[in-house]
């Protein structure tokens, strides 16, 4: 009896992992792009995507059961993980093909965008609010719910962020 139950569980797990692998393969490009917008650089984007997906995959059946839409759940988890992130150290990167050599860095054209530079300089929370609003197209209330903060916080973070962006873009030579 115990053996049978265990075998069934293993079988269920492997089916769930196949389903998870399909999900990852399909969602990866969009998640990397979203992670890039959230974190401001390819390394942290790949890191964020991998960490969040691994965690979700380790509880895949429960996530599917409880969260309904795994993609929306993953994106929410990424926004949260990014904001509450304290791990600043570079880590081994297994997910995205990130340019490492200096020659490649030149071709990483976003480096030259003043707005992108200004966004990257924002504190993580402010940048998340901007990304959720302009990348995800979420309302203030939806952003508040996603990040687990009050609508007032979203409003104040957004206005701080926009003020900073305006200042930076108005005087691009400053602070470089």
């Amino acid at each position: 009896m115990i053996m049978l139950a265990a075998a069934r569980e293993v079988e269920g797990e492997s089916a769930a992992m196949e389903e998870f692998a399909d999900f990852v393969a399909g969602a990866m490009p969009g998640l990397l792009r979203y992670g890039h917008a959230l974190t401001g650089n390819p390394h942290d984007a790949a890191d964020l995507v991998q960490g969040v997906l691994e965690k979700i995959g380790s509880r895949w059946s429960a996530v599917v059961r409880k969260a309904g839409d795994p993609l929306a759940y993953t994106r929410r988890a990424m926004a949260n993980a990014h904001v509450s992130r304290w791990r600043r150290t570079r880590r081994e990167n297994l997910v995205a093909d990130v340019p490492e050599a200096p020659a490649d860095r030149v071709r990483y054209a976003f480096e030259d965008e003043p707005l992108w530079q200004a966004l990257r300089a924002l504190p993580p929370k402010q940048r998340a609010v901007v990304v959720l609003r302009y990348y995800e197209g979420l309302s203030e209330a939806e952003i508040a719910q996603t990040l687990g903060v009050s609508a007032g916080t979203v409003k104040s973070q957004a206005s701080k962020a926009m003020a900073t962006l305006r200042t930076r873009l108005g005087a691009p030579a400053e602070g470089r």
Binding site: R33, Q50, E54, G57, R87, F110, V131, Y134, Y135
Partner: protein, 249 residues
């Protein structure tokens, strides 16, 4: 400048250059990582009692050896070890190991200068893994960060500054699930910020490297230490977390 920031942001976020190429094998790497996390959780749950007992015995022997004369740098044992260790021992280990550990504790504290408490398997300072939000807040040691999610409330320690980061993560359902003590804190085995990676591996030979290069040490009961390293192969982050945590990736 007359530029419309709203439009500029939408344009930027629609830019193709935001795309990142997916590395071949990325899906496999994620699936493997997810499987490893799950297996670790299951193995830890099954074997926790035994592991705790063994870890305590090994810890007792190792640390006991330090009493003799010259403790290597970074291996001092802080005075407050007894309480938690013995508490943990009550659950899992035979009474003999309690004796070993209590004997060891009294004499090995001479070299300690740090005022930062130890990070132990049970927790750090007054904060314990599993404490509810209310219990943790009632210790008076934490200051809440505005940043939090449905799954994780973030805090810093009042007594220690932390740059742009969270020191304690608390789940509304599982209580305290992650603790990242400030520099100066060491584990009972003497590992803290600045310890060389080789020392970490020596102190915790049963640890494993995770996908991000962290050295993960199972502590039983679904708990683990994690040690992160900087470029110079020295510890830059020490942590204690529960497998239930949804605070970080």
């Amino acid at each position: 400048m007359g530029m419309d920031i709203d439009d500029e942001l939408r344009r930027l976020f629609a830019d193709d250059r935001l795309d990142l190429p997916v590395r071949p094998g990325a899906t496999d790497a994620v699936v493997t990582g997810a499987g490893r996390r799950r297996r670790r959780r299951q193995a830890v749950t099954a074997a926790s009692g035994v592991l705790t007992a063994v870890a305590l015995l090994i810890g007792g022997i190792t640390l006991g050896g330090l009493n003799t004369s010259s403790a290597p740098p970074g291996q001092q044992v802080l005075p407050t070890l007894t309480t938690t260790t013995v508490q943990a021992t009550k659950v899992a280990a035979p009474p003999t190991s309690t004796v070993v550990i209590s004997q060891m504790t009294g004499s090995s504290m001479s070299g300690s200068v740090s005022t930062v408490p130890e990070l132990r398997p049970a927790g750090f300072s007054k904060i314990r893994l599993g404490m509810s939000v209310a219990e943790a807040e009632a210790t008076g040691e934490l200051v809440a960060l505005e940043v939090k999610s449905r799954d994780c409330k973030a805090y810093n320690f009042k007594a220690y500054t932390a740059e742009n980061s969270m020191a304690v993560g608390i789940s509304p359902t599982d209580g305290v699930v992650a603790i990242f003590p400030p520099p100066g804190a060491r584990t009972p085995e003497g590992i803290g910020h600045g310890s060389p990676e080789a020392d970490v591996r020596n102190a915790y030979p049963a640890g494993t490297t995770d996908a991000h290069g962290y050295w993960i040490v199972d502590l039983g009961d679904g708990k683990a230490y994690s040690f992160g390293f900087g470029r110079d192969k020295a510890v830059t982050e020490i942590g204690l977390y529960s497998d239930k945590q949804m605070c970080f990736g």
